[in-house]
């Protein structure tokens, strides 16, 4: 390993360390009016603040529900536990919802991870290419023939909580008192269509069929084929690759 590789490994470890450390860098950084640790801290802080602020912008509704202090506190743990693996930072934060699932301080707001899933889906679809959709009149036939699939322009969020209603509360479209967690499970489809990203609640057979396609279950139960046109009407279905 070159000297530079060793230095870069030690520097990376120091930036990602939860505590101030010069381990592996002792004697390598010049001091002066500021100590080596103080100088290194400029880079530690740049990393933490830059990334935390950037990712926080993706989750305004999570912030509305738990407060920006709580969100940033959770993000500070997340960015040290799962630092970015690539420089396209708009793709960083995909794992934050799953991180919240296991984040003990968030156990009092058990729905928050699913809200984060919806916000991540919105963010991700804003940079997606729109693909051709399956026309509703063709949907059931295509599905029976095995070449219908959920569109790459949609994301499914299956929640044990009324997550679409909570999302609407966050957006100011529903008063908070109109939603109770006991209202139960909701399945949300986040869909990009006509350059707009929208959130739709799916219910009954539509939700069942979407979950079935999402899980890759084959064959689709017979009673669900009737809902294929409904999913297509909501811009949620495309053809499998290679089918014309």
């Amino acid at each position: 390993m070159s000297d530079l590789a060793r230095l870069q490994q030690a520097f990376t470890d120091a930036v990602l360390s939860p505590e101030e450390t010069l381990e592996g860098l002792a004697g390598m950084i010049e001091g002066g009016p500021l100590s080596p640790v103080q100088r290194l801290n400029v880079y530690r802080n740049n990393y933490r603040l830059g990334l935390t602020d950037g990712v926080a912008e993706i989750f305004p509704l999570v912030s509305a529900f738990v407060g920006s202090q709580f969100l940033k506190g959770a993000l500070r743990r997340y960015i040290l536990a799962e630092p970015p693996a690539e420089p396209m930072l708009h793709r960083y934060g995909a794992g934050f919802a799953a991180f919240l699932d296991d984040f003990e301080p968030a156990s009092g707001v058990p729905y928050i991870a699913d809200l984060a899933r919806i916000e991540w889906a919105v963010h991700e679809l804003q940079n997606a290419l729109e693909e051709p959709l399956l026309p509703p009149e063709d949907a059931e036939g295509a599905m029976r023939a095995g070449w219908a699939r959920l569109s790459s322009n949609m994301r499914l969020v299956v929640s044990a909580y009324p997550v679409v209603n909570l999302w609407m509360v966050g957006r100011g479209q529903l008063p908070p008192e109109a939603v109770r967690l006991e209202d139960g499970a909701q399945t949300a489809a986040v869909v990009l269509t006509g350059r707009q990203v929208r959130i739709l609640p799916l219910e009954g057979g539509l939700a069942k069929l979407a979950r079935c396609l999402h899980a890759g279950d084959q064959p689709v139960p017979e009673d669900l084929y009737a809902y294929a046109a409904g999913l297509a009407e909501r811009s949620l279905l495309s053809k499998r690759d290679g089918e014309s």
């Binding site: 990602l16 010049e30 500021l34 103080q38 630092p83 970015p84 690539e86 420089p87 940079n127």
Partner: protein
């Protein structure tokens, strides 16, 4: 003698631009500000589709484009990330930018990408590594790359080549150009106790293909002042003076105003660019007068 000033794609002898921010997309298209170019961070446009690409398509139809990478990690001992080189090349092919630039810095180690421009020890070993990486990038994209001096908050005991000499050697060895960030020179010089004017006077004239200007913040760390390159305010007076000094020496160069935090109105950015343009005009006249 013909004018030594470089001509921009639009024919301007005093080409100025600003960093393109998403909050200004609409404004740019509606008001068509008098600028020669816009600069974008390459990584923000490494997306399959969406509004960012649509706006960049529209804006790059009307203005010259400068593609500025922030994640290539030219200083990585392990070499460049080939997947990232391919993504960068795809953008170069899609947009055919006027200028292409990256940084004398590193940000990647193994599978970890640190969201910052991290400092390098400047010595024979790192010069070898950065030379290899810059040559590789230029070969892969088939274009000359301008390499930018970063802001420094520390230096390594193993540094034995001054930054400006390191960059000159890099330009000699790879044929790369330099993106001279005058604000970064000021910030690093103040933080590290260098002489900013001496640095600027040692920059190899012919290599400089672009100049960056930005605002910075003054922090107090336990009573010790430290300048932080936050791109969050107007260009400081000290930096304008160094810019004038630089233009007097180099002649006009494509000059960009960067403003990435607390982003102001587009009009404010354009007015900062106008100051740079004015300085280039004045110095061009002064050079003509000197020649008479």
């Amino acid at each position: 003698m013909t004018s030594p000033l470089p001509l921009s794609p639009s024919g301007s002898r005093t080409p100025v631009g600003v960093g393109l921010k998403s909050q200004h997309y609409q404004d740019v298209l509606q008001t068509s500000p008098a600028l020669t170019f816009f600069e974008v961070h390459a990584e923000n446009y490494m997306v399959p589709g969406g509004a960012h690409r649509r706006y960049l398509d529209a804006i790059s139809d009307k203005y010259a484009l400068s593609l500025h990478g922030v994640g290539m990690s030219l200083g990585s001992a392990e070499g460049l990330d080939e997947a990232h080189v391919r993504r960068f090349r795809a953008l170069v092919e899609d947009y055919r930018p006027w200028l292409i630039s990256e940084h004398l810095a590193w940000s990647r180690r193994g599978d970890t990408y640190l969201n910052d421009l991290l400092p390098l020890p400047l010595n024979a070993e790192s010069l070898e590594i950065v030379t290899r990486n810059v040559s590789h990038l230029q070969d892969a994209i088939g274009r000359r790359v301008l390499v930018e001096n970063p802001s420094a908050y520390l230096s390594f005991e193993t540094t034995d080549i001054p930054e400006v000499e390191f960059l000159s050697a890099l330009a000699d060895r790879t044929g790369c150009g330099l993106l001279l960030d005058v604000n970064n020179v000021f910030v690093s010089a103040t933080n590290m106790g260098w002489d900013a004017a001496a640095y600027l006077d040692a920059v190899p004239t012919a290599a400089v293909g672009e100049i960056h200007l930005a605002g910075h913040a003054l922090k107090d760390i336990d009573g010790v002042p430290l300048r932080i390159d936050d791109h969050g305010s107007r260009v400081a007076e000290d930096v304008w003076e160094l810019y004038r000094h630089t233009i007097a020496r180099l002649g006009a160069r494509p000059t960009l105003i960067e403003w990435d935090t607390n982003v102001p109105s587009l009009a404010t950015l354009v007015s900062e660019a106008g100051i740079a343009e004015g300085i280039m005009r004045q110095e061009a006249v002064a050079r003509e007068v000197d020649r008479v």
